[in-house]
C-alpha cells in the first residue's frame, strides 16, 4: 500500500515537537482503528452520477444558440385547485438535499408573508404558494438555517433533524390536505427538535456571524 508518510515518522514528529507521550498513544489508537482497503480499477461504486448526452451536429440548434431554461410560474393548490403563487423551475441536477443535516418545517398558519425567508434563502428554495405564504422546496434546500434565523415569527420556521424524514414532498401541500393533522405534527416536531442555542451548525440568529468572527480570529492568532 502506498504511504506518503510512514507512521513511524509521525510518531517521531509528535515526540520531538510536542514531547507528549499521550498524544503518541492517541495517534496510534486512531491509526489502528483504520483498515486499508485496496481499490483496483473497475471496482467501487458502479452508479453513474451524471450522463451528459452529446448530440450529433445535425441535431444541434443552429447559430450557437441554446434554448433557455423555463422560468417557472404559478402552480395549483392540491385541494381547491386554484392556481397562483410562483414556483421557479429548478435545476434537476441540483441535488443539495443529499448532504442536508437539518430541514426547515414551516407553520403556514402563523406565516405573516413578510417574504424574508424567500428573499434571504441563498438557493432560492422558497416557492410562493397560491395563498401567498412561503413553502421550502426540499429538493433544493441545503439546510443552512438562514430562513429560521431571519423569520420574525416565533416557531414559524424551525430547523429539525433531517434523519427523521424520508421524502422531499411539499409541506404546504400536506398542510392544505389536512390542516389540523399537519399543525399537530408540526407542534410535536418542534418540541422534539434540538433547541437552536444547543445546535453546533448552521445559522441560528441574526448577528451570529459578526459575533463569531472576532472569537474565531482570536483562536487563530493564539494557536
Amino acid at each position: 500500500m502506498p504511504e506518503l508518510v510512514s507512521f513511524a515518522s509521525v510518531e517521531k514528529f509528535i515526540t520531538d515537537k510536542l514531547k507528549n507521550p499521550l498524544k503518541v498513544t492517541s495517534a496510534r489508537t486512531a491509526y489502528d482503528r483504520f483498515t486499508a482497503i485496496e481499490i483496483k480499477p473497475g471496482q467501487g461504486n458502479p452508479e453513474e452520477l451524471f450522463n451528459f448526452g452529446l448530440p450529433k451536429w445535425e441535431d444541434m440548434r443552429l447559430g450557437v444558440s441554446i434554448k433557455g431554461q423555463p422560468q417557472g410560474g404559478p402552480y395549483e393548490d392540491p385541494v381547491s385547485k386554484t392556481v397562483g403563487g410562483f414556483r421557479p423551475v429548478r435545476n434537476e441536477l441540483f441535488k443539495k438535499y443529499t448532504t442536508r443535516t437539518m430541514r426547515p418545517v414551516v407553520n403556514f398558519a402563523t406565516c405573516t408573508k413578510c417574504t424574508l425567508c424567500w428573499l434571504n434563502c441563498p438557493d432560492a428554495s422558497f416557492d410562493v404558494t397560491p395563498d401567498g405564504t412561503y413553502d421550502a422546496d426540499l429538493k433544493g434546500c441545503c439546510g443552512c438555517g438562514i430562513c429560521e434565523a431571519v423569520c420574525p415569527v416565533k416557531d414559524c420556521i424551525t430547523m429539525v433533524n433531517e434523519s427523521e424524514f424520508h421524502d422531499n414532498d411539499s409541506q404546504w401541500a400536506r398542510f392544505k390536505q389536512d390542516r389540523d393533522a399537519y399543525l399537530q405534527w408540526l407542534e410535536k416536531t418542534i418540541e422534539e427538535a434540538e433547541p437552536v442555542e444547543k445546535r453546533s451548525q448552521g445559522f441560528r440568529y441574526r448577528g451570529q456571524y459578526q459575533e463569531q468572527v472576532p472569537a474565531a480570529l482570536e483562536i487563530a492568532n493564539k494557536g
Binding site: L54, P55, W57, M60, L62, G63, S65, P70
Partner: protein
C-alpha cells in the same frame, strides 16, 4: 460594365427610372428598396460615400431606418450583428483597415448565422494608407463563412445587393455576405443604372424571418455562450453544411431575379467575355474588367484569340464550374488585385484558389500563371493587359513562365 442582354425598349418597361449614379449610390438605393431596418456607419474612405447617400435618403424621408453612427468599425459591426439577431434587416460597410478593425465582429457573425449584408469598398490595407483599390481587405474573411462577391458596375452593384439580401436571409443560408466594390473605380464613378421599382423588389425579397433563432423575450434562448472542445467541431460542421448547397441557392436566386427584373446574368458565378474560341484566357475580379475588355478587343483585331473570365462569387467558390470552364484553354493568366506573401508559388489569392480548383476539378493541366497588378489603386492599363496576354501566350506555346509576376511595377 456587365453585359446586358436585353434590348433597350424592354428596359424601359421593367424599370421605373434610369439614373447616372455611382456604385455606392446604387447600393444605397438598393438598401432603400430592400427596406433595410438598421444601418450603422463609421466613416472611412472609400466606402463612406454609401454611408452619406443613405443618410441623405433618411434625411429626405425617402428611407425609414435606424441610422447609427458608431464609435468605430468594431462597434459598427457589433451593432448590426445584434440588430440582425433581433430580426432586423441590416446593412453595414467598411474599407481597408476599417474592415480589419471590425475583425472580432466579422469572425463571429457567420458562426452565429446572422445574415448581414456588408459593402466593402475595397481599399489598400495600411500601411501605407493608400485610398485606392486592393482586394485583401474583403479577402481576409474568406475562411470564416462569409460569402464574398465582386461586382464591376453600378448596375451590378445594385442588382447584387438585392440578390445578397435574398441569398443571405434564405433560411437555408443565414450567413453574412460581403459585397465588394472596388474603391474609387466603382464606389465613386458614375454610370447609367436602371433602378427597379419597389413592387418588383417586394416580389423578390420576402420578409426577414429569423424563426426560432430570434432573440426576443418570448423566445427564450441564449445565443453565443462559451463552449468547450465538446462542441466546437459540431458548430463548425453546421456552417460547413451551408457551403455544400450555397451554390444551388445562388443559382435559384439569380433565376428568380431574371424572372422578376428581366435582367439576365446567366451563370451567376463568373462572366465570360469572348471565350468561345479563345486559346488563352485572363481571369480576374472587379473593375479591372474594363481595361481587360478594351485590351482584348484590341488584341482580337490583331488576330489574337484571347478571352476573359470575370469571377463574381469568390465565396462560395464554384470550383467544379471554374475547372470545367478553364480546362479547354491552352494557358490561363489570373490577375490578382491582391497579394498573399509567402503563398505557394508566391501567387495572389485568386491564382492559388484557381489552381486548387483545377487540380481537383480537371485532369487537364494548362499553366495557370499568376499576375499581381493594380495594387493600391494603381491602374491596370491596357498595355499592362497586353503584356500579360503576351506572357500567357508564351506559356501556351510551351515556353515556361514564372508562376507569379508583378505587372506595372517600377523596377
Amino acid at each position: 460594365m456587365a453585359t446586358l442582354t436585353m434590348p433597350v425598349e424592354e428596359k424601359k418597361k421593367t424599370s421605373e427610372q434610369e439614373a447616372l449614379i455611382t456604385g455606392a449610390e446604387a447600393i444605397a438605393i438598393a438598401c432603400k428598396l430592400a427596406n433595410v431596418d438598421v444601418v450603422t456607419a463609421y466613416p472611412i474612405r472609400p466606402y463612406d460615400t454609401v454611408m452619406q447617400y443613405i443618410s441623405q435618403l433618411v434625411a429626405d424621408g425617402e428611407m425609414d431606418c435606424e441610422y447609427i453612427v458608431a464609435e468605430g468599425e468594431h462597434s459598427q459591426f457589433e451593432i448590426v450583428k445584434h440588430a440582425s439577431a433581433c430580426g432586423a434587416r441590416v446593412f453595414c460597410g467598411s474599407s481597408g483597415v476599417g474592415w480589419m478593425y471590425a475583425m472580432e465582429a466579422l469572425t463571429v457573425t457567420p458562426a452565429l448565422r446572422l445574415p448581414l449584408v456588408a459593402m466593402v469598398g475595397n481599399r489598400a490595407l495600411d500601411d501605407p494608407g493608400a485610398f485606392g483599390v486592393e482586394h485583401n481587405d474583403a479577402l481576409a474573411v474568406r475562411d470564416l463563412g462569409w460569402m464574398l462577391t465582386w461586382v464591376d458596375s453600378a448596375q451590378e452593384a445594385l442588382d447584387t445587393a438585392l440578390i445578397a439580401y435574398r441569398v443571405a436571409e434564405d433560411r437555408r443560408m443565414f450567413v453574412p455576405l460581403a459585397l465588394s466594390c472596388d474603391g474609387a473605380f466603382l464606389t465613386h464613378s458614375q454610370s447609367l443604372v436602371n433602378i427597379p421599382t419597389a413592387e418588383q423588389v417586394k416580389k423578390f425579397l420576402p420578409r426577414y424571418d429569423r424563426g426560432d433563432l430570434l432573440l426576443h423575450p418570448d423566445n427564450v434562448i441564449s445565443v453565443a455562450p462559451q463552449a468547450n472542445e465538446d462542441w466546437v467541431m459540431e458548430i463548425r460542421r453546421q456552417n460547413f453544411a451551408v457551403t455544400e448547397y450555397a451554390c444551388d441557392v445562388i443559382r435559384e436566386v439569380y433565376a428568380d431575379f431574371e424572372k422578376i427584373f428581366g435582367r439576365k446574368y446567366g451563370n451567376p458565378f463568373f462572366e465570360e467575355y469572348m471565350t468561345e474560341d479563345a486559346e488563352v484566357v485572363l481571369l480576374g475580379m472587379g473593375t479591372l474588367s474594363t481595361p481587360v475588355r478594351v485590351a482584348i478587343r484590341k488584341l482580337r483585331e490583331q488576330g489574337k484569340k484571347v478571352g476573359f473570365v470575370r469571377l463574381r462569387w469568390f465565396r462560395p467558390f464554384a470550383g467544379p464550374e471554374i475547372a470545367k470552364c478553364l480546362e479547354r484553354f491552352k494557358a490561363i493568366g489570373v490577375i490578382d488585385r491582391d497579394f498573399s506573401f509567402g503563398s505557394p508559388n508566391l501567387s495572389g489569392v485568386v491564382a492559388t484558389e484557381v489552381r486548387s480548383a483545377m487540380y481537383t476539378g480537371s485532369t487537364a493541366r494548362p499553366p495557370v500563371l499568376g499576375f499581381i497588378c493594380g495594387l493600391g489603386g494603381r491602374e491596370v492599363t491596357v498595355p499592362d493587359v497586353e503584356n500579360m496576354t503576351e506572357i500567357v501566350f508564351q506559356a501556351a506555346k510551351g515556353k515556361t513562365q514564372p508562376w507569379t509576376q508583378w505587372i506595372g511595377l517600377r523596377g
